[in-house]
């Protein structure tokens, strides 16, 4: 026992937050060690130490008249065997093996290490080091649930289990990261999700060797390693209702401790355009919403390029009044249209990027600077034409209909490609860029599935169900064949 204590103390001597304590209860020596930063001190005092005192003292009471114990008491030793595992008032306790288990991991995960009678126990007394469940910040919900994931994986699992209360919702976890030792778990509904997909994901996760996992994106990059497309092939979400919705479709969720985002895979292009909130709204009215979103997709990618090709190549396509208005506005702008457009688009990207990074205090300053300098003063100064502001504004607000940052960034890249092509060859250039864009989309592979499903490969059932309309929930009896073999929703 002394050797072990010496060993622990020497290894942890530079960790000043580790606290060692030796107790002597009725001549019985108990050694405890824990990290002050990770434990809940009232748990340690009230339950661990008090339990130890109670257990050891009560053992004494029973053997009061025992001759052996009297002798032992006299000479100051206590040889009672104590069954701590079955008597301590803490829900999680584990007997550790000195050789096999890494004792430090336990201490550094918020356990209290108890050394008693040459036995080592780890007792969980983790403090709650997380914030409470709050509203989602990056994905707005109009009518849906307002809770969002937090940094604690167990809370996140709880949020999902609250919604899907079946033993078929399986959860498997592993620890990844030689230094961080992060819990990574996958979740799926076992009789809906395709087992080959589950195996594929499990295999990919188990192959990961890295010193640390800090965010779910680490996992995403590992399992999307072969995806060379600009678009992500898994959904990042912070909303448990979205995760539950997709789990019931047969998709797989990947959870990572310390990340309030959950990964859902496989994902199709359509999933990034359409929003789960459609399901919470009257299905008949969703059609217009969806059409607006598709328009936004086209607008945010093509508007600057379209404007460029119209005013530098295909002036005859613009109505005369509009052209004269454009020409009058462009009069006095010193730059060619392409430079003007790229400057403005770039300026707005700067504004967006700084908006993402800035703290809330300087946010006001920035909106004033952005609105005044970019909007008004640039026009007054003759650097850009007012129509360019409209073009860029339309592009930006259309782009904001998408919530996934990866998609926004991918669309930004394609916007630039479109602009370059349009500035070289006008509308024909845009047609070329479209060929490239579509080629890039259809050649993207989302975990052996096609990214552009249900359009290519065409699945008319699914197109009718979800592309431009949303099927009324009582009529929607089937799941998607691409995601599951269990097609009937009403059957168990």
């Amino acid at each position: 026992m002394e050797n072990l204590i010496e060993y622990l103390k020497s290894r942890l001597k530079n960790l000043d937050d580790i606290y060692f304590r030796e107790l002597n209860i009725k001549n019985k020596k108990v050694f405890i060690a824990f990290s002050d930063a990770l434990i809940d001190s009232s748990l340690v005092s009230n339950f661990v130490i008090r339990s130890l005192v109670d257990i050891i003292s009560s053992d004494e009471l029973e053997d009061k008249n025992n001759l052996k114990s009297k002798i032992e008491e006299k000479i100051g030793i206590n040889s009672k065997k104590i069954d701590l595992e079955n008597s301590i008032a803490i829900n999680k306790i584990k007997k550790l093996d000195k050789e096999k288990d890494n004792l430090f991991t336990y201490i550094l995960s918020g356990f209290v290490l108890i050394v008693l009678d040459e036995n080592i126990y780890a007792v969980e007394t983790k403090a709650s080091l997380i914030r409470g469940i709050s509203e989602p910040t990056s994905e707005n919900s109009v009518r849906g649930a307002k809770d969002s994931f937090v940094e604690n994986i167990m809370t996140n699992i709880g949020l999902i289990r609250r919604r899907i209360k079946t033993e078929k919702l399986e959860y498997k976890e592993t620890k990844i990261g030689t230094k961080t030792n992060t819990t990574v778990g996958i979740m799926y509904v076992s009789n809906i999700a395709k087992s080959e997909l589950v195996d594929l994901v499990e295999e990919k996760i188990n192959k990961i060797v890295i010193d640390g996992i800090l965010d779910v994106n680490y996992i995403q990059e590992y399992i999307e390693e072969k995806n060379e497309s600009d678009f992500p092939v898994s959904i990042n979400t912070e909303r448990p209702d979205i995760v539950s919705y997709y789990l019931l479709q047969g998709r797989i969720a990947v959870l990572v401790d310390n990340s309030p985002y959950v990964l859902i895979l496989p994902a199709f292009f359509e999933d990034f355009i359409n929003n789960i909130d459609d399901v919470y709204q009257k299905s008949k009215n969703v059609t217009i919403t969806k059409i607006i979103r598709y328009m936004c997709l086209i607008l945010t990618v093509m508007v600057p390029a379209f404007y460029l090709s119209l005013i530098t190549f295909d002036q005859e396509s613009i109505p005369t009044e509009l052209l004269t208005s454009f020409a009058a506005q462009r009069e006095g702008v010193p730059f060619p249209a392409f430079i003007e457009a790229i400057t403005m688009v770039f300026a707005f990207e700067i504004l967006r990027e700084s908006d993402l990074r800035s703290n809330k205090i300087s946010g006001n300053t920035m909106s004033i600077v952005g609105a005044l300098i970019l909007g008004d003063a640039a026009v007054s100064a003759g650097i850009v034409s007012p129509i360019m502001i409209i073009v860029v504004a339309l592009t930006t607000i259309s782009g904001l209909t998408f919530s996934d940052i990866n998609v926004i960034n991918a669309l930004r890249k394609w916007r630039a490609i479109y602009m370059i092509f349009a500035s070289l060859c006008g509308l024909i250039g845009m047609a070329m860029a479209t060929i490239l864009f579509v080629t890039s989309l259809v050649s993207t592979n989302s975990y052996t599935k096609s990214f552009t499903y249900p359009v290519a490969p065409l699945n008319m059932t699914q197109v009718k169900k979800s592309l431009f309309t949303r099927m009324a929930i009582p009529k929607d009896h089937t799941r998607q064949k691409i995601l599951t073999n269990n097609l009937t929703r009403s059957r168990e």
Partner: protein, 355 residues
């Protein structure tokens, strides 16, 4: 990445659009153009260029005038006065003087057919009794929107049509088909759209009368809401055409059938009549039909005897049917024309208004 570079290179090689880039600020957007002939036979061009220097007021234009040996030469000579090159794709109006129309139509149209920049979706006018530069000046100073002016004339008077230069060129290039063009003149310092001018062998030959212009437009299906009137005894009955369809077909070797179907609303009578029974209405319809039939026949006789220009495209019809008659020079003389008009008066007008 490599495939993108290759794709880009291929695209750039196949379609190099670099040369056709035009910055908006380098274009002088021409709204209307007039072509005259000078005394020594040169072309005199006057063009309204939209003034883009004032972004608040883009209505005003500047007239530039230049003289050249050809239309293109004259257009280029404008660059000497205007800082920018003329851009013709947004032209709305082309006015050519009678002199040009009578002698140089082919040359002028050739320039516009060949110009790859223009869309040729503008309207051609013959300046009737005035110089086209004068008309251009009035269009500019009065800020007349020639397109809506023409549309209104076409719709409510029927003496002009909305065939743009493209359609006129298509017609004139057909075998056995002559064209008619809208004409324009100045009356009391105001612009007036006049009766149509007819062409013979690429050159203008004369003007139709107002009535003939309307009949011509009925026959080529370019009519909308004109007014027809007929005398019935001493009662003048006026009807507004709501819909008109005409069909020209060959019946026998030398007989042309013209079928006209007109739907009209009764709009005015000079004396009170009772149209309580359908017989009375039929009588009015028959009167209209008879009148139009007669007018059409008179018009056709005038075409073949006086104008001697196949503006209705009968020759083209014969040509398409492989009719031997077409090979003869005076085929118009040998054709018999039947006109069959059906007038259907659907609405007699009510006292009760819905508002």
């Amino acid at each position: 990445m490599r495939k993108y570079v290759i794709a880009l290179l291929v695209f750039v090689i196949i379609f190099n659009g670099f040369s056709s880039i035009k910055e908006l600020t380098d274009l002088a957007i021409v709204k209307a153009m007039g072509i005259d002939l000078t005394e020594d036979g040169k072309y005199h061009i006057s063009a309204i260029v939209i003034d883009t220097s004032d972004s608040e007021n883009t209505n005003s234009g500047i007239v530039y005038e230049a003289i050249g040996d050809s239309v293109h030469d004259a257009a280029r000579n404008i660059v000497g006065i205007s800082p920018k090159k003329l851009y013709l794709a947004h032209m709305e109006t082309l006015v050519i003087s009678e002199e040009v129309a009578k002698t140089q139509t082919e040359n002028v149209l050739d320039f516009f057919i060949r110009d790859n920049e223009g869309s040729n979706a503008f309207y051609l006018f013959i300046a009737n009794g005035a110089k086209s530069s004068e008309i251009i000046d009035i269009i500019n100073t009065e800020k007349i929107d020639m397109v809506s002016f023409l549309q209104a004339t076409e719709k409510y008077r029927g003496i002009a049509n909305l065939k743009n230069l493209n359609e006129i060129i298509k017609t004139i290039l057909k075998d056995g088909n002559e064209i008619c063009a809208n004409s324009i003149s100045i009356k009391d310092e105001k612009i007036v759209i006049n009766d149509m001018a007819y062409f013979r062998d690429w050159n203008m030959a004369g003007y139709l009368t107002s009535q003939e212009s309307v009949l011509y437009n009925i026959l080529i299906n370019e009519i909308s809401n004109i007014i027809l009137s007929v005398d019935q005894g001493d009662n003048l009955i006026v009807a507004e055409v709501m819909d008109s369809k005409s069909k020209i077909s060959i019946e026998n070797e030398d007989t042309i059938n013209i079928e006209i179907k007109i739907k009209a609303n009764l709009s005015e009578t000079s004396k009170d009549i009772k149209i309580t029974n359908s017989e009375k209405l039929e009588e009015i319809e028959n009167n209209f039909e008879e009148k139009i039939n007669n007018e059409m026949l008179v018009f056709y006789n005038k075409i073949k005897n006086e104008y001697n220009s196949d503006i209705l495209g009968f020759g083209n019809l014969l040509y398409r049917k492989k009719n031997q008659l077409y090979t003869q020079d005076n085929y118009l003389q040998k054709l018999n024309v039947n006109v069959n008009t059906q007038v259907n008066i659907s609405n007699q007008g009510g006292i009760n208004k819905t508002w």
